[in-house]
Structures are given as structure tokens and as C-alpha cells.
Symmetry: C2
Subunit: 332 residues, 2 copies
């Protein structure tokens, strides 16, 4: 028997298979294959990328030379271009804007064969420090309204380069999914005078069965309304609408939680393709105190079919309770 579950934030319904969920080993799990070849993100090939924007490197080394541990560059094939003024206008009943924005790449380490999951907690901390510093820098640009940090791991998840990296896109508009979440959190707050994400944390602690990991600052769990098999959310325990205001200690705890979850996913699911996205508030929008920033991780184990696209009703052939148990019990 299946169960229909409704996401309290966005109102999205998801069908969950509770009676005979697909198990960890029922998926066609093939590890990501690194083909090698010349890679612009590898140490020694710094001249193949646009110039370095920021890097963590010894003071004795120069930009765009080896020696770095984390390196940020512009995307060579940007989705949006940084130059030009914002031009929003209408054509008949349609609205459009030119594609002004920033598109940057955070190269997580110089070694082609190391993925984010393979890095130490301190190394992951350095990567997250760059997420923060780039967010803080780009929000000064008055043309931008949203900064989106996301990672595509593996070809099936949309990664075009196999060397481990995170992408940052600064947008002149607030994307729809973000608006929906903000609105949902606001509606919930109006009704109950509490944050919906804080309430989710409380309920997850009460039920326990969907929890994978926790430390001082973060809770990692498979959400009750998981759209995808083995979906994992990382929620900061303390309410905070914006990722960018994260402090150094919390960054270390985030690295610790991310390392733990990525290792479990890599080992148990045979290094699947995955996406993760940091959900945070729009820039210069003081009215989002009800929001609670977090990270959503989605392994790519199934194809999304017409049913999902057409309806917004997702069918999850497994159950988050089983997924969480499976990841929790994985030895790392």
C-alpha cells in the first residue's frame, strides 16, 4: 500500500511506498567513472580556466599557479553573464529580462580523483568558507536578488566536468521554487507563530526513525515527504534565514555533517550521481525571518517521468524511514 504525504512547506504531495519499499540494493547502482584526460580544474592547468577570483593558497604562491587547496573561478561557459545593466521588459503578455548574473565554480580540491566525500572535515570546511565568502561578496552587487549554491556530482546529475566542484549562480530574479518555500514558511508562521523547519526538527527528534546523523549544529535526516529515494536534508538546529551569516564554528559542524552524509551515500549506494542545493533567503529582503536555510541532497537513482513533471506529484518507490535506517546503519 502506498501513502500520499503532503509537504508542510510547499504543499507538494508525494507518494511513498510504505508496504514494499525498494531497498538499498534494488537500484541499478553503478559508480561514477572518471575518464581522466586533460582537466582544466586540475593543479597545473590553472591557465585553462578564467582567472582566479579567490583561492586558499600559501602567500608564497601566485594566483593561477599550483599550490592552492580551494580555488574559485568564473564558469567558462556561464549560464549568465556578469557584464551589462539589468534590462527587464515585456513583450505583449510576456515578461523577460536579459541574462545578467554571475556564474562561478568552486573547485573543491586540486586532485582529480578526490570527490567532496573524500576530503577531510578541515578541507570541506575550507570549501564551505568559500561558499560563504563568495556569497558575501556577490550580494554587494545591486543587480542580484538571489545567490544559488549547488553541486552536480556525476553525469546523470548534470555534471559536465568530473573534477569535483560546486557552482554558484547569482540571479537577477528570485526563482520560483525559492519563492514557494518562502511563502510556505511565511504562511505556516502566520498560522502557528513558529518556524516550520524548527517544527520539523522537533518532530524528527521525537520520531527518530528518519534521522541519519546529528552534531551540535546540524541534523541530517530523510524528510517525511522525500521526493526522491535517499533524499537527505541537512538543517541547522538554530534558526537562521540566511546561509551567508553562518559562523566559523557552525561551518565546521556543517563540514562534519556533510562529510558524514556524503560518505554514507557513497559507500552504501556505490557512489551515485547526486545534486545538492543550499536553500537560503533572497538578498536584501528583510522580510524572510520565517525562513530557515538548509541543504537538500538528492541522489539520482531514478528517472523522473511525465507523471512528476505534469502533476508536481512525485512517486517515490521507496520510503524515507527505510532509507534513513539503511544510511544510519552504514559503516563509515
Amino acid at each position: 500500500m502506498s501513502q500520499l504525504r503532503r509537504d508542510p512547506i510547499t504543499g507538494r504531495w508525494v507518494e511513498i511506498n510504505i508496504s514494499s519499499p525498494m531497498g538499498c540494493d534494488d537500484f541499478d547502482l553503478k559508480p561514477q567513472v572518471k575518464k581522466g584526460g586533460v582537466c582544466p580544474f586540475c593543479s597545473g592547468n590553472e591557465k585553462m580556466t578564467p582567472p582566479e577570483i579567490e583561492a586558499i593558497r600559501p602567500h608564497t604562491t601566485k594566483p593561477d599557479t599550483p599550490g592552492w587547496t580551494v580555488r574559485v573561478v568564473s564558469n567558462k561557459f556561464p549560464a549568465l553573464k556578469i557584464e551589462g545593466n539589468l534590462d527587464k521588459r515585456g513583450i505583449g503578455i510576456f515578461d523577460l529580462s536579459n541574462g545578467v548574473g554571475a556564474h562561478e565554480v568552486i573547485i573543491e580540491n586540486p586532485d582529480h580523483n578526490k570527490d567532496l566525500a573524500d576530503l577531510s572535515r578541515d578541507e570541506i570546511k575550507n570549501v564551505i568558507l568559500k561558499y560563504r565568502s563568495r556569497s558575501l561578496d556577490l550580494e554587494n552587487d545591486l543587480r542580484f536578488r538571489y545567490i544559488l549554491l549547488f553541486k552536480n556530482h556525476g553525469e546523470a546529475a548534470g555534471a559536465s566536468l568530473e573534477h569535483s566542484h560546486t557552482q554558484l549562480v547569482a540571479l537577477p530574479i528570485v526563482p520560483k521554487r525559492v519563492k514557494e518555500e518562502l511563502k510556505g514558511a511565511e504562511n505556516y508562521f502566520k498560522y502557528r507563530e513558529r518556524c516550520v523547519f524548527c517544527d520539523i526538527i522537533a518532530q524528527e527528534f521525537q520520531e527518530k526513525e528518519r534521522i541519519i546523523f546529528e552534531n551540535n549544529s546540524f541534523l541530517a535526516f530523510c524528510p517525511f515527504v522525500s521526493r526522491f529515494p535517499f533524499e537527505v536534508w541537512l538543517l541547522p538546529k538554530v534558526h537562521n534565514p540566511e546561509f551567508k551569516s553562518i559562523d566559523d564554528n557552525t561551518i565546521y559542524d556543517m563540514a562534519d555533517a556533510l562529510k558524514d552524509v556524503l560518505m554514507r551515500v557513497k559507500i552504501r549506494l556505490n557512489d551515485p550521481a547526486y545534486n545538492f542545493i543550499i536553500h537560503t533567503s533572497p538578498i536584501r529582503d528583510g522580510s524572510n525571518e520565517e525562513f530557515h536555510w538548509h541543504l537538500e541532497l538528492m541522489p539520482k537513482l531514478t528517472n523522473v517521468a511525465g507523471f512528476e513533471w505534469g502533476s508536481g506529484l512525485y512517486i517515490n518507490p521507496t520510503s524515507p524511514e527505510m532509507n534513513a535506517k539503511c544510511l544510519r546503519e552504514t559503516k563509515i
Copy 2:
């Protein structure tokens, strides 16, 4: 340079590549491969499916025997089960419902090797007649609130059986994407006192460049805010909120338009995987006069990556204007 376009119905932003769009031949186009083997949807194998619900067949033949041209059966592995009362309840802050619903399969023709595009207009008309009769029958069940008709063609589009078929799901809830469209159409109507879809038709006729095909009752075009390469919408020219009230003549024109579009897509894009979905109003909801039923067709040529999932901002590497030109000029 790219352009950001905003969907006037849902508010969704899509980035369109207008300066150097990917062309028809820039995609990795591999035709769908039929592996054959024993197929439960083939003529002669009627006993392999659940019993026939409806069929178009000579009066001299019996149900669940050969002779049919279109056949409707329950899905053997249903997403939702037809038995039982609806049980909606809460667990803490979460809402859920048991998975009551109907999940049917419309087998479009008895021949394993013929896809919907290969059928004649009259044969496609018979398929659509079944879409209508099943919709009319299932709406009598008071537990259901929405009837979703959709087709997955090809493995990449989520088809688990290769014999050409359409699926119908009757749901006890109104899915999120439908609600958004209804709300968007309602908001637009409140503001302008006109239907947004009727306005889109008018604007497409004015600009012409995104039109692929038209006949007396339907317009087929690549929407201004196409999320996917070669996305095509089929809009009835006369305003009507509900698919189920379509008359016989309009069904014939729908078959004619669908045949034309599917042939162009099959020939020009080398028989790609695709989904199509019929968007219609919820059942027993008299307040959706602003809505305008239609069909959305999405060839599956690219992977959807983390960026799209996380933001609701789609990146379309091609442009609907180029797509429409390409399909319009295809010889069929």
C-alpha cells in the same frame, strides 16, 4: 547572450539561449530501441494483463481476447489502489492520505512495433475517445479529485513497457503543479478579465514564429517560456476548462494535430523519448472557469540537473523560436 523569460501562468523563470541556441542536430539523438520479447500489451497476450475495463473491438469478439484496436486495463503495478475508503489524517505537523486512486493503462494499438505517431488519424481519434470515456467514468467516483492523463515514450522518459500506451491516474488530491496553474490562470483573469491561455494563442498568432501547426480546433506551438528543448503545447482554440467535455469533432482535430506534431518530432529528432500530459481542471470544482485545458509535450533530450530542481529556474540550451522553425520545416 541568454534571456530570462517568465511564464505568465505560473511565474516560473526560464533561461533561453537566444544568441547561440543548440540546433536540432546538436543533441545526442538515439532512436528508441524495441527489445521485443513477450509483451503483455500485445494482441494474443490479453490474459497477461488485469481484466479489460473497456475496449474498441468488434461485437463478435469477447473481452480479453484478440480483435481489439484500443484496450483499457488496470495497471498491474498500480501507483494507487482502487479499493478502500479515503483516509486523510495528520501526524504531528505532517498531513497524509492513504493511496486510494485508480491507475489505468490505455493500450493504443495491438501491434508492438507501432507507436502513437505511426497510427492513422482515425486510430488516434479512437485512443482519445478512450481518454474521454475513462475520464467521464472515473469522475463519478466521489473519492477522486483529479484525473491525470499522461504518456511516457521511451525508457529515458520513464516508460517501463515499450508497447505504446497512455496512463491514467485518478487522484484523491489535486496535485501541486495543477493548483499552481489554476491559481495563475485565476490571478491573470482577475487582473485582465481575460483567459491567459486565450491571450497566449492571440499573441502566438501575432508573432507567428513559434507556431508549428494549426487546424480548425487546435494550435501547436513551442511556448515562449519552454522549459525543455522542443517542448510543444497543443491548445484548443476555443476556451474550455475541461478536457472531458471535448466533442467528437474536436477529438478528430486533436488526433490530427497530435499526429502532425508527433510525426515531426519523431522524424526530426530521431524518435526521442518524450512525455506528454493533458492539463485539465479538477473534478467537481466549478470555480475553474478561467482555466483552459491543453496538452504539453516534452521530448527528453537533456538531463535536468540540480540547478533546476533547487531553484525552479530551468536552463534551456536552445530557443523555442529555433525549435518551432525546425519542426515546422520538417517534411512529414
